[in-house]
Symmetry: C2
């Protein structure tokens, strides 16, 4: 295992626990800023990965002043921590429509933006905003192939954007494009995929502008496509995972240059056979997403993850003889974002490798 992940006072940390290495977080933030050539106006990190007030403070300290988020609780956390430019990249439906407009009243200094992709959403949002006398900034969510949310580029998209302009209470504020389907490990291929999306988005923007509609903002991409949008004029990039990074993105996208900054600290609770150990790290502590390998063991040579349960993980090892009950095991998760949401707080580790306390996962819950 890379020595930089060894925690000098690991015996003070109960397991299973999430641990975050602050020097690596700091490095990732600085590397993100270097990736946009120092122009922080191009950076809108997604708060869904860390959900943590202290991380927002670290980003602010580095000059990052605007954020993206998915839940109302994340949006409120951002507003509470002095962030004035907040994009909620999530469609508001049901009771969340009124909760969102109430948030605007509660934090008048924050400049909230939200996305829509359907005329019914526009109507519901406009009705709630107009009732409170608000003027809500709304971005159109475009689908460039993710097949998740977003309206396909075309006439219907233009119509919905024009509808935002036409109704009382809403103000059209540009285009939002998430492209998590772009998975090319080869950098040139990934750039080609992004260029294809960019051409479509530019064409859509031109159509809207030619109709006299304002398009003040375009927000695109996640962590894998970040290096491309970082260099694209007129586009804000919105990486999320980078701040903690994980095994999945490190393996598939080594070109990104970020370092894993969050691990799971586990311990051996059972040594059933000469070839198997069992960890106290079930899928209630390290997320079951993705299917398959949910993380890798860093400090046991030849370890291969086996069957996982709620509070247990069977690990196959070449030889369990030298391993002892209670031994600390460091695991790098394949997908960090859902892991953070499983923990109420994480232990923070300093540059000397010492755990110095805990930071709350402030926006772990969805409720305000």
């Amino acid at each position: 295992m890379d020595k930089k992940y060894r925690i000098q006072n690991a015996e003070t940390i109960p397991s299973p626990s999430l641990v975050v290495y602050l020097p690596h977080v700091q490095y990732n933030i600085e590397h993100a800023i270097a990736t946009v050539g120092g122009d922080v106006s191009k950076l809108r990190p997604h708060a869904k990965t860390h959900k943590t007030a202290e991380i927002i403070a670290m980003e602010r300290e580095a000059g990052i002043l605007k954020h993206k988020c998915a839940t109302l609780r994340e949006a409120e956390m951002l507003a509470q921590n002095g962030i004035e430019d907040i994009l909620i990249a999530y469609q508001m439906v049901g009771p969340n429509v009124n909760r969102f407009v109430s948030l605007q009243l509660k934090y008048p200094d924050a400049d909230f933006k939200v996305i829509v992709d359907h005329e019914e959403s526009v109507t519901a949002l406009a009705s709630a905003a107009a009732r409170l006398g608000l003027n809500v900034k709304v971005m159109l969510d475009l689908d460039v192939g993710m097949n998740r949310t977003g309206i396909p580029l075309g006439d219907a998209a233009v119509d919905v954007y024009a509808q935002i302009e036409a109704v009382d209470g809403l103000q059209p504020w540009g285009l939002h494009v998430y492209d998590g389907h772009i998975h090319d490990e080869d950098v040139a291929d990934r750039k080609a995929s992004c260029d294809k999306s960019l051409a479509q988005v530019e064409e859509m923007k031109d159509r809207l502008v030619s109709k006299g509609l304002d398009v003040p903002l375009i927000v695109m991409g996640g962590t894998p496509t970040f290096p491309i949008y970082a260099k694209t004029p007129g586009v804000e990039a919105s990486p999320g995972t980078f701040v903690f990074h994980d095994h999945g993105y490190t393996t598939h996208f080594p070109d990104l240059g970020f370092a894993p900054a969050a691990l799971l600290l586990s311990r051996v609770i059972s040594i059933p056979t000469p070839r198997r150990i069992t960890l106290d790290l079930g899928h209630k502590a390290i997320a079951a997403d993705p299917d398959g390998v949910r993380g890798i063991v860093l400090n046991v040579d030849g370890a291969e993850v086996g069957k996982q349960h709620e509070e247990h993980w069977a690990i196959n090892v070449p030889d369990s003889t030298p391993i002892h009950i209670g031994q600390e095991i460091y695991v790098c998760p394949t997908h960090i974002c859902p892991c953070v949401a499983l923990h109420p707080f994480y232990y923070v580790v300093d540059a000397d490798g010492y755990c110095r306390g805990t930071w709350e996962v402030t926006a772990r819950n969805r409720t305000l």
Copy 2:
């Protein structure tokens, strides 16, 4: 969809949310008691599924006075709610050893038991207990084929049990056997699998007793094997899932006779195509375990779950035309236990189908 799951005031519940139907919980508790022929002394439900004080109160009201749990926080929740007989069916390692013995000091009225499966665990536990002048009741965890924790039946198991008796600070308190590997859908096959385990466990008990060792308690099984151990003399059954039940166990073990009592309330946030809708129900709200189908949609005919993300779930439908943005979608999870741990509280629905408030998931976190 079965009308009994329709929530009359669903529009008051933000989504995604966990909802629990109290009449069905009550039914499941009563059905569990009926399964042991009314003899509640045979029942030791696992608190890991619900992690909730009010559910413990419902069980106590029905006469259930002893529980099993996995985490120290669950154990503390049980003690705080007046439960005096608490089995922590989890190996204590690292800082958890001292945290466990401290719990005994903090709740002197509670009769805690814990499990071990390795001589190193016995030594660590004995050392901590003796230091505080405690006498801890310890059960030997046996592996009858689950391959997770537990010592295989045989001479080594006898030696560890004798070691518990021999050291200061510990008191041998019987055998713990979890058999989640028994998956036979056919009831006769399942009984045959259980009988095989039972014969082994009985033989082990006889060996221990013949050596002059006490074996006051045998705790076996989970929900699928519950009907078998419910009828086995000298054995306590410890089902967990039954209290809320789920789609997975309903499908694989219809003989159990429990009813799903917990659903996820979701809403349509996007209708991208005539054949697809997207729900606000990602794997941060419905657990990603098991691999594959993580839940089924109850109130859209022909709905088939597709790709899921952190806050989104694509659902393929025969025709999205009649579906509207914000429409409530009821989802029955395949595996309820890890879903509960994703929520800070759940909405409780009464016999008339009205949501009457929320109950906290008290032991959601692992920390005391």
